[in-house]
Amino acid sequence: MKLQDIYEKKEGEKLFLLGNEAAVRGVLEAGISFTSTYPGTPSSEIGNVLAKIAGEAGVYFEFSVNEKVALEVSAAAAASGLRSFVFMKHVGLNVAADAFMSTAYTGVRGGMIILSADDPSMHSSQNEQDNRLMAQLAGVPVLEPSNPQEMKDFMVYGINTSEQYKIPVMMRTTTRVSHMRGIVELGPIKPGEKEGFFKKEEPGFTIAPAYARKMRQELVKKLNQLEITGNNSPLNRIVRESKKNRVGIITSGVSYNYVLDTVNKYSLPVNILKLGLCYPFPRELMKNFITNLDDIIVVEEVEPFLEKEVLSIIGQEGWQKKVYGKLDRTLPHIYEYNPDIVEQSLTQVLKMGVPEKNPEIDFTDITPPMRPPVLCPGCPHRSTIYGIKKAVQSLKIKKENIIYSNDIGCYTLAMQPPYYMADYCICMGSSIGIASGMSKATKQKIIALIGDSTFFHAGIPPLINAVHQKADIMVVILDNRVTAMTGGQPNPGILTDIGGEKGMVVSIEELSKAAGAGYVKTIDPGDLDNSVKTFKEGLQYEGVSVIISRSPCVVFVKPEKERLTYQINQEKCTRCLICLRQFNCPALYQREDGSIDINYLLCTDCGYCVQVCPQKAIEVKK
């Protein structure tokens, strides 16, 4: 498939689309003309695709500086009458929470969809928060698609609902839906409005207490109406029903797939209610579904969101029914589900004997080697963190007296051996805030490590704080000219060209100086001696020092000049293993005879290792 197919293919045609790609087609079919994001897995591919096709498809798209701003710009577009779409990973909504809560109150004019890609099992996240609860907290309706087809179709449904009720709508996906590929039948493309106009009227979008009280009334009214809509929505449907069945399953999102596959596989005698518009809870529909049942099983990922509502309905009605789910431990409360977990739980409740499966092959005595993600061969971050280590060693600072406050990005991988350079790392931008606090709470030396994109995202206010509070810290900004971990998106530090529009470049040096940092220097991590010298100065500086270590990402930025190829001079090599065990580039390896060699399939000819070798045994290949 080619990316252009997403906007070129016509109604009725089929494409094999990733959930995230289907969302982009959904944007085009929903008449959405304004889109924004800050990249985050598992939502990143939506932005990657939009960045490539937005211009041709006639949609405005921006990689905003962070999720809060992304939500605000899309809210502004929706207030101006355009249909807008903002998307982020689940923890991104924490950053955007302030704007999110208030946008529920102000409402919208053009339709607005806020997509939250949750990450059960934490494939690439720090927690597995269920953002249906965030939506409930804000008073925002929630759509839960189960597959790429629904991801596209729900965009159209969601934008119409949003516009009808003048309320933003959340689309909650999970990793296994965003990263599921399936056959999607396309609908017609609806061109969106090109230009919005912000109409001034009372109370407008100003959420001062006097207005907010009115907005709160309006919001609850909207949610009550939406509950009635949910009772009759085509997104909420009874998939199987027989009067004979005494057991029913209520499910949503990806869990529905596991439920239906299991029910089909064993012809289980159960009724099934699938909820696609799951909040406001369609209570009447749920009540009618369970009224004639004895047992109800609720299958949903992460929190017992629907399950508690089922219990509330049963309690209110004074019924005697048994509810199976997370609360009674029938299903696990942690991590994502899979076909086996759901099959086991359903057959257990139904007391069905399931044919025994093949016994597992016993592999307990042979284990696979640990293969955690690593910094790529040629990654400039490796040289930066190696340089920091050298500087710390040469200043003879004891291990227990140096604190590495790390941040979110590829360089978080410095937490692993042999570097061990992440003592604290909790969220975007936290490296500098934590360092600032540590400097006040302890007498230890503190180094904050943060990437360029993360610095722009949430690193500037804590830097100002550190300067203002006279913290004594060294901030290292690892500027690889791209947002790498999420797949190579741009950020305000580099020239961007999306949809034919060039962005303005914002200087990290100038920002750091303007924030008041007393020592600001830029280094090339490829020059190890100068790096070590500069880090030493930074560490010895009393106050806030900022060192910008700048070298482009080896994966996403093409090298400017032709590079040399290197080889190991086996006569000079003493097999000290510093290159392997301290610098730790994956392109270097030890042969069975103990000698060191270069794996040329992996080597990027970066030459960083040349300076690491004390014997100068890594040479230019002749």
Binding site: F16, P42, G182, I361, F363, L375
Partner: protein, 202 residues
């Protein structure tokens, strides 16, 4: 409606080996053949040299995730990764694995051990009828580029008796998903992989 079992495929490898690309080629070929197909892929942090798993089900299933001991086809682009797939291997699983090891940095640091591949073969052979190791990298080099090792393995899969997709659909899908300039080399790699499978499975 009676339930028809889906054909389950599990592909495991190391970031950068083309597991997602291989699965996408299979998926689009299935769609072209008029079959229903669902696929699950891994993105983000897991790609940086870590283990990458991609799963497919061809048939009526809604979920792409393979069930316990139920994979019909297991493709391992790196031999030690087979040990991470033991939960989906059943007696009827047809396993095709590349012989070329990729040693992770944890081994050079001495904090983890690379297993003895012969021991894996010995153990698996006792339980599984179809286990085939293919020197995919060597064959890919012969075909023109080591990068086509994944296509060699795909060629081997294509030659298995129960593989549900036709060769012409796989080739058409390769044309849609691989660079035009390397398509002839890739088709050669595919065919050499099929030939090799027929040789080793005799």
């Amino acid at each position: 409606m009676s339930y028809k079992k889906s054909y389950q495929i599990y592909i495991i490898g190391v970031g950068g080996q083309g597991t997602i690309k291989t699965a996408t080629i299979i998926g689009e070929a299935a769609m072209a053949q008029g079959l229903n197909v669902v696929m699950s892929e891994v993105h983000g942090m897991a790609q940086r040299g870590g283990t990458v798993v991609t799963e497919l089900k061809i048939g009526d299933s809604l979920s792409p995730l393979n069930e316990k001991y139920s994979a019909d086809l297991l493709l391992a682009f790196e031999p030690s990764e087979l040990l991470r797939a033991t939960s989906i291997i059943g007696k009827d699983t047809n396993i095709i694995a590349s012989c070329s090891s990729i040693i992770p940095f944890t081994v050079s640091l001495g904090i983890s051990k690379y297993p003895d591949i012969n021991q894996i073969i010995e153990r698996l052979s006792k339980k599984v009828d179809n286990l085939h190791f293919i020197d995919a990298e060597k064959i890919a080099i012969e075909a023109g580029n080591i990068i086509a090792a994944n296509i060699v393995i795909l060629g081997a899969a294509l030659a298995t008796s129960k593989f549900p997709l036709k060769k012409e659909n796989i080739i058409e899908s390769m044309k849609q998903n691989l660079p035009i300039k390397s398509i002839d080399m890739n088709i050669k790699a595919l065919e050499m992989g099929s030939k090799e499978y027929l040789k080793v499975s005799k």
